[in-house]
Symmetry: C2
Amino acid sequence: MKAHVYVTLKTSVLDPQGQTIQNALHKIGFADVTAVRQGKYFILALADGLSVETATAHVESVARDVLTNPVIEEFTYHIEQ
Amino acid sequence: MKAHVYVTLKTSVLDPQGQTIQNALHKIGFADVTAVRQGKYFILALADGLSVETATAHVESVARDVLTNPVIEEFTYHIEQ
């Protein structure tokens, strides 16, 4: 079983790195990309035999307490069986 | 329209950052997380009125040529309408 966790800056937080990428894309001709936000992506491999409920609880806990800075970031995840 | 691009290290490439996270998780009690890989996640906002075909072609081009280092990374993406 695998979990995919996506951590992004909250929409209220400025993303200068994404802005820089968007500017660069604009300069090389991709004017139809109007905004870029950059986040982090984690793939967690989970032990065999874990129930979906336990896996979900652990992944949510790891995502909230370890992978995300709750002041400026938010996360989503999904479990892949 | 939005595009979500996921960039990960190729499976043949070592990921010391992911390994460090996995070790830390193990120490704080999440022993059922057996491996962690870290990647990057980009959200691209696309101009209104773009056809899905054009959007797909542009996103693929941006992902391949700008967001990914083809020597060590690979990417997937999906377009959200």
